[in-house]
Symmetry: C2
Amino acid sequence: MEERGHPGLHSGESLLFLTDEQLRKGIEAMFFAYRGFTADPDRILSGMEYGRAHHRAIHFINRSPGTTVNNLLNTLGVTKQSLNRVLRTLIADGLVESRVGEKDKRERHLYLTPEGEGLEQRLSDAQRARMRAAYRAAGPEAVAGFRTVLEAMMDPDMRRQYLSLREENS
Amino acid sequence: MEERGHPGLHSGESLLFLTDEQLRKGIEAMFFAYRGFTADPDRILSGMEYGRAHHRAIHFINRSPGTTVNNLLNTLGVTKQSLNRVLRTLIADGLVESRVGEKDKRERHLYLTPEGEGLEQRLSDAQRARMRAAYRAAGPEAVAGFRTVLEAMMDPDMRRQYLSLREENS
DNA sequence: GTTTTTAAGTCAGCCTTGTTGACATTCCAA
DNA sequence: TTGGAATGTCAACAAGGCTGACTTAAAAAC
């Protein structure tokens, strides 16, 4: 692996030696990048009565329409009481619809209403725009590496969740 | 640009087309990976009277000993009142020392005490261990790409912050 | 057919960590 | 010297995590 013109790539194979200094830079990169990652949806949601928790719920309901409350709980990694507070407001405001399960009537299946889909679009458009810009600036090889490292960084359970989401429509 | 079973590597230029689907996967990868990223320090801190905010303060004080409250504010991106609550407990518990500025007595310069350095070690050891494992699993090229994309994802101000931290000892 | 388990929802209360507003101190410049 | 700007502190509040206890309804197990 030889020197490239890319920013941040002078290290070559010395990356395998992984000094504490290099690892710390990766840690700080995650910290600052995650702030950027959430900044646009946060901006849209502030001023509405919603927050990041609502965004996450809307994202994954849109991702898997008809998912149950329990599924969502596992995906988001929060307690049902915490999720319930968020879902209650989204349902009351007509952004999410909760249908009693046909097969198992204990379950509630969650769907975005057209209004909910509208907000989802606004939020994900903003987030995708930033992602697209970053991907374009970094180039395809960097994007592949980005995804590879992120996957390796997840807990095994999260990685399973993440990969099972991929199967659906990849 | 053929389909590969292996996500992440060797995808070539097909990534430049950047479908919404691909972008969404990047978004979800960030979400799940960040959970993993913070999991280990969170686990250590729960049970103590501290949280993630304390970790962040300790990290950046260790990174830049003698930094002022205002510097830290800008780095962390929170209000001074929010930071102050965290600093107050850290100072009261003897993990952080606050020295009145010599030149400008309005400023407080922050340092970790030996005890504070001890906790910093415990926290960053855990976080670096995960990072190291992910880097090793992904390989050096992936790591370079990972850093490149993260940098591109930051807001310009955050990137400036991030890069100025790099200069110090890189 | 009764009992137990499971899915979901609710209420109450707590903690962390963000926010604004009000205020004290210090410095500097008009 | 006085008024404004910068720095830091105190108080109060809100969002969104958490646990625990409880109810309802349906499914599963016995």
